[in-house]
Symmetry: C2
Subunit: 243 residues, 2 copies
């Protein structure tokens, strides 16, 4: 019942998911990209794309995004935020994209509608390496060049959504930090996301009055100056405080 043989004229639309995986190294925001190699007019070309893939027959959208990420990075439990569907005909106006895709999935493609997801991850968790034929790597978001399909647009939209989401959900950005972090790391993260300087004293004050950001009795190790105190984010306290 879930498969059927059909014979009819039909636009060949496909449904895929693409994941904008954002990481933070204490200094810059980066995005996880897949290196793509293709051939067009006898020329080999290399470029990059967002990790993504077609959904399976029996798979929910969210599950497909989760699977794509797991296959690429090994990351299992992750907060995925579905933020937009892209279905413009223009998506496949670059022949290289269409040919690459048809080669990859062995089917004719007229259009592909993709559902885009955001995942914020601790940068250490994303296990790099090759997945199938494709190498993946972190690229600082302001060093991203031309991507396949409309992935530059998707990335731009995603960053805007992260900004908005961080405003309505103060816990969101903690997904980018390690379990123990300094106020400087947190402050730098805010500055990168909002694109403007945060006053040192006011920022510290603001964090100190959040009871779900807990000061630890530990300090940074191995720095050539006064070591900063470490903090942790307590998700249970956060959820309780939301009520």
């Amino acid at each position: 019942m879930s498969e059927k043989t059909i014979t009819m004229p039909l636009a060949v639309n496909h449904i895929s998911v693409d994941c904008v995986v954002i990481g933070f190294d204490g200094e810059k925001l980066s995005v996880l990209l897949v290196k793509r190699m293709g051939e067009e007019d006898g020329q080999v070309f290399h470029d990059m794309k967002l990790p993504g893939g077609l959904i399976y027959t029996d798979e929910n959208l969210d599950d497909a995004a989760r699977r794509v990420l797991r296959e690429l990075t090994g990351i299992k439990t992750i907060d995925l935020l579905q933020f937009k569907a892209y279905g413009s005909k223009d998506r496949t106006k670059d022949k290289r994209d269409v040919h690459w895709l048809e080669h990859a999935i062995q089917m004719h493609v007229d259009r592909i509608v993709t559902i885009a997801y955001i995942a914020l991850v601790r940068i250490s968790r994303a296990l790099l390496g090759t997945s199938g034929d494709n190498e993946i790597c972190w690229v600082p978001i302001d060093e991203v060049r031309q991507l396949a399909f409309d992935h530059n647009i998707i990335l731009r939209d995603a960053i805007e959504v992260v900004r908005r989401q961080a405003q309505t959900d103060p816990s969101y950005l903690f997904n980018l930090l390690p379990p123990k972090f300094t106020i400087l790391q947190l402050r730098t993260l805010y500055e990168r996301v909002y694109g403007k300087r945060q006053d040192v004293r006011n920022f510290q004050k603001k964090i100190n009055q959040l009871d779900y950001v807990i000061a630890l009795d530990e300090r940074e190790q191995g720095v050539a100056h006064r070591a900063a105190r470490l903090y942790r984010f307590d998700r249970k306290l956060f959820k309780r405080a939301r009520r």
Copy 2:
């Protein structure tokens, strides 16, 4: 090139758009629904669904949503907000929905992924009547009963998105009001959207200091008490003030 004859085992996924059209009558928020009539096990049944339809082969998602609305209501220029894609397998767990759909589109259906849109309209603009076989009508949002597919979930999510959108874009809710409106109408709208009382004096003060909400030299007509002043929303001034 945009059509091709294929013969292969294939899950029959379709892509549709559904529109959550919200209106406000000065008192309550309502949503535009389509009456659906179907037959199952020899029994005729009536229920309601969100307006929606399959996308055409050469049609962008946004254009499809716009077309569906125009066909149903006659509304042409409208701000459509795409807010979520729904693709769970559970969407088609009710056999009545599947059979109704297969009868409507004359194709087998395994799953249907739908892209959901929100439109806020002035309630007077939505031209009611029948569209094809289907009658459409406004239903107050807290009187909505069981809808087809997962449309109750889509509606719930949409209202949440309207709330969030109104917070980040102060011009958003003016789409629901007539060109001339009273402060009471505006205040009632805020109370319905946010679900809590707004203080009369503070609300008036807040509105008075928005230079894009302009007091007119006109008053309400035909009320059996002191007539309230009319205001209008100036979109150009709003856009200028945003900078």
